[in-house]
Symmetry: C2
Subunit: 377 residues, 2 copies
């Protein structure tokens, strides 16, 4: 059994420098319910970048050290440093999820059942050669599923499923999704087609619209087109969608969605009301692809809400049984509905080279990196 392993750590130093490097850390001893996973594949999700690079200005990034132990540094402005005071001088492990092989297991039945098997895991710190996790944080994959296939079992699949479940919980009957050609967006399309949920896809480029139509999407609105607002209103009127999940967060898009929902609602409203329609319109912001401020024109009556949406509180809200049901669906459909595609596979060290950072840091739709922490070691 390994005594130590490489782990990627992100440190926001009190002197205003972000430092990301690979540390040799001791493999912890297992509790009865724990397993030790040799991590074979772990994705770089947009949700990992916030912790990885914090509030650093990545245009100032540079890399030093040997090729197999790179040290990435970047500057952090005093204001950004102050805003991130809670993490100063802590070496934080990174990586929300991944998959690998259980090479050691605690004494409990749940842990022993995973020994030697390929599992997906969640819980942070997955950008590492080894990760000790409670067995309950692992999802057993079928014998014919590889770690690369199972690397993204949690963040995107459960978020996409969570959107549909939230829709049901909050009494909506159709969905809107932005940045809809993303890996997650493609999953959501497959789920909605399978489950008969009307879905309005919003994309930013014609080729993204084509991609979605190619996988069966029925309603795609391209925000780069002059007819966007009327296209969106038509699609909302057709579906009755009053709930949107927005991956971008900034700018006017969330407000535009609410305005078009209101226009769609007013098409069938009765008497004029100065307060707008009584139809409740909701946008949840679950990502921050656009870091600029959210701007709301408030031209959508008074029955509206905007809020943040995160996977963890959602899972707490629905409870353990529903959570397990959703996880099992992911495991069962990991090669179809929930298949992820990666642009490039890199080692831990390669993930800290500037060319790689420029690639995955762009967060372009369809561009996704997979780290293989034990590759070539």
């Amino acid at each position: 059994m390994p005594q130590t392993g490489l782990q990627m750590q992100s440190t926001l130093r009190g002197d205003g420098v972000l430092e990301v490097s690979l540390a040799d850390v001791e493999v912890p001893s297992l509790g009865p319910g724990d397993v030790l996973v040799r991590v074979e594949a772990t994705p770089i999700n947009p949700s990992d970048l916030g912790l990885l690079f914090g509030p650093a200005d990545m245009t100032t990034a540079s890399v030093s050290g040997p090729d197999d132990r790179p040290i990435l540094t970047a500057k952090v402005t005093p204001a950004a440093l102050k805003a991130a005071a809670g993490r100063i001088d802590q070496a934080l492990p990174v990586g929300n999820e991944g998959a690998g092989v259980v090479i050691e297991a605690g004494d409990s039945e749940a842990a022993q059942a995973l020994l030697g098997r390929t599992v997906a895991g969640v819980g942070g710190g997955m950008y590492a050669q080894y990760r000790c996790l409670p067995a309950a944080f692992c999802l057993l994959l079928s014998e014919d599923t590889t770690p690369a296939e199972g690397a993204s079992c949690f963040v995107n699949p459960l978020t996409a499923l969570g959107m549909v479940e939230t829709m049901k919980l909050e009494n909506h009957t159709a969905l809107v999704h932005t940045a809809a050609a993303s890996n997650l967006g493609q999953m959501l399309n497959k789920i909605c087609l399978a489950d008969g949920v009307p879905l309005v896809n919003i994309v930013r480029r014609p080729e993204q619209a084509e991609l979605l139509r190619g996988i069966g999407a029925k309603l795609v609105c391209d925000s780069s087109q002059p007819s966007f607002m009327s296209d969106l209103t038509d699609a909302l009127a057709e579906t009755g969608a009053t709930l949107a999940f927005d991956a971008t967060g900034g700018g006017r898009l969330a407000g535009q969605i609410l305005a078009c929902m209101e226009r769609a609602a007013l098409r069938t409203a009765g008497e004029f009301s100065r307060y707008g329609s009584t139809t409740h319109k909701q946008v949840y912001i679950y990502g921050g692809l656009d870091q600029s401020p959210t701007e709301l024109q408030r031209n959508f009556g008074m029955a509206w809400g905007i809020g943040g949406w995160l996977l963890t509180p959602f899972l707490q809200r629905v409870g353990a049984a529903k959570g397990q049901e959703l996880r099992q669906r992911v495991a069962d459909e990991i090669k179809t509905t929930f298949a992820s595609h990666y642009t490039r596979e890199v080692s831990l060290a390669e993930a800290l080279q500037l060319d790689a950072i420029r690639g995955y840091g762009r967060q372009s739709t369809g561009e996704k990196y997979l780290i293989q922490p034990n590759k070539g070691l």
Copy 2:
């Protein structure tokens, strides 16, 4: 009994002109459950102005016609006209609430019980000499309450009480209020002092802070002060307030409140989380004193929400029994907790003169007009 009476009507004409005038309308015949109220006092609330002047550019307003039958006109831009398509060429009566004497009553017991009594009424169209209302829309005032004292029984008092009830319903334990020196804000202070609810008042000027401290407000933050953000954070930390009601709507204030709530929450948070605190922070926008776009920096983690808040859906949410309990409290405390102060009393015709419009149109804190529809007639 009167056959006709004056009624203020607002018409957005299809040719892009807003016209507000006084019409002689027939007094309707009463159903068994109805009463006819001779309206003696009816306030001009900010919530009336949206219907009264619609989207007109009031800098273009002019008045024609005789002094006792003024006709106010103002221009409406084509874009604004399109946005208000639902009300074009309809002569809409105005005035949410008021008080007067029941001069005729339907046969039902509920209606007969109000005959000859002074009541407050709600239901729109109160800027009129006479208003036929279901008895259920009326609140019986005590014998020693005048119509002027009871004119504002619904909009402000129930909104202020609704804030406290919403706080309880949504599991918050303290409140934040903006434009807090308003008539409504003063009521809210009295309610919170009486009910032991911690309240953080946000005002825009030192004299408003003084006014509130003069009526016993403990926590007042002045957004014109350089120390506003830290003052607010301190007050939020002290009270644990995680729910705000915002009368302004536009600009950065709602986002600043969320940011300060987040800072206050992080003072006692444990481990650093890249998603911010797990404390849910909520702002409800219930007014639009600032018509500019709402701008959110989203520097407050992911556990947050913003939405519109209106009295009517709130009353539907809490149900008839709770609604009646709140109304009775208003009637009982109309001369103390829920007393309103008016800057000027005007007739229906005087309310359409330009100097009056400039006065109440400003929506300055503390400036409030009362219409006396039967004054001098």
